[in-house]
């Protein structure tokens, strides 16, 4: 049953995501967090963050990992298969039979019309992430981090992998100090 659900979830993601892997991110979120509830928002955020940090296509990394989490190795293969194979078959059939397909005006019209829809879905997801981070870090800290990330990524052309890696490292090291600090307070040292 899990396998059927996995296949359906990622088949839909694969067939509805126009514009390459990144456009499938909001669709994966919809299926995995909202529809089947295999993960919560936090876990999804981790998957997305690590997916962005590691090289390679993002859609299959998410599909593979989520499939693995939900139903083991077979689930992983199943989810990657469902994301990739149907559209590859379509591609092989269309390129070997009618390669003028992509030039048909209605086909390009279809592809173009989906782009704004994906933009809306991405905007919603962006807002969700910002709201969530406002709730956990406070409005000031999250705004500072947003502005800093924006400057580093867009204006100084920092690679996202470097920035995310640095933040992860910072989280690891900073907590250490905070824990020590609390212990000191408990012991009546410090302050």
């Amino acid at each position: 049953m899990k396998q059927v659900q996995l296949f359906l979830a990622f088949f839909r993601v694969g067939m509805l995501g126009y514009g390459g892997g990144p456009s499938s991110i909001p669709l994966v979120h919809k299926e995995v967090v909202e529809n089947y509830k295999w993960m919560n928002d936090d876990e999804f955020a981790d998957v997305l963050a690590l997916g962005n940090t590691l090289p390679g296509p993002i859609a299959t990394k998410m599909a593979g990992y989520i499939g693995y989490r939900v139903a083991g190795l077979l689930g992983m293969i199943n989810a990657v298969f469902a994301t990739t194979i149907p559209t590859i078959i379509l591609m092989i059939v269309l390129l070997t039979s009618l390669s003028s397909f992509k030039n048909l005006p209605w086909v390009s019209g279809m592809t173009k019309a989906v782009v704004p829809v994906v933009a809306v879905m991405l905007a919603t997801l962006t807002w969700d992430f910002f709201k969530k981070s406002k709730d956990t870090l406070g409005i000031l800290n999250s705004s500072l981090l947003v502005i800093a990330s924006l400057i580093l990524l867009e204006f100084l052309n920092f690679h996202p992998a470097i920035l995310i890696g640095a933040l992860l490292l910072f989280a690891l090291l900073k907590k250490d100090r905070a824990v020590k600090h609390e212990q000191n307070v408990e012991r009546g040292v410090g302050l």
């Binding site: 962005n52 990992y65 989906v114 782009v115």
Partner: protein, 176 residues
């Protein structure tokens, strides 16, 4: 021999290409056009254009098709495996570690600290999709589709599948 070449041709873009499938397109071109000469530049752009016209991830579509062309069904399998497997294995290993310590405050902090950056990455992606839409169909159609899909998705909570199918229909009729 050909399978080994197919593996290498897609393994390298998969492991070097940061930023998801679309970022690896020039790397794939470098391998299949310049190094192995399987496709000419115009054939490659044909494949790319078809890949863009169809749904689903771009990188695996190219790997599957070019692998199939060079080495049949097994070639397609090798191409997909080389694109997907290396980074996926890394991902599963790293996330298993994080998941094991998911209740540790450190891991919770990690999630909290990266969230604003992910928001920015998603925001940038949103912007680039909007820019593509504006270039492709103009400001008026973009606004119509943005407003309509926002109302459908967020106000009336229509499942994205129906909204996308609706947009495909709209595009086939009004944007042809």
């Amino acid at each position: 021999m050909i399978y080994w070449q197919i593996f290498l041709a897609f393994f390298i873009p998969g492991i070097v290409g940061y930023g998801g499938g679309p970022a690896s397109i020039p790397l794939v071109q470098n391998e299949v056009v310049d190094r192995y000469g399987w496709l000419s530049v115009s054939e490659f752009s044909e494949v790319l254009a078809m890949g863009n016209a169809l749904p689903g991830p771009i990188a695996t579509k190219m790997a599957g098709y070019i692998g199939f062309q060079q080495g049949g069904v097994l070639g397609a399998g090798v191409g997909i495996f080389a694109t997907v497997a290396p980074s996926l294995i890394l991902m599963i290993l790293l996330l298993s570690v994080i998941y094991r310590y998911k209740d540790s405050p450190k891991v919770k902090n990690m999630t909290n600290y990266i969230r604003p950056t992910i928001a920015v990455l998603l925001g940038v992606m949103t912007f680039s999709f909007l820019a593509t839409a504006y270039e492709g169909i103009g400001i008026l159609q973009t606004i119509i589709l943005v407003v309509a899909s926002f109302l459908l998705l967020e106000k009336w909570k229509v499942h994205p599948a129906f909204v996308i199918v609706g947009a495909l229909g709209y595009g086939a009729v009004f944007l042809a």
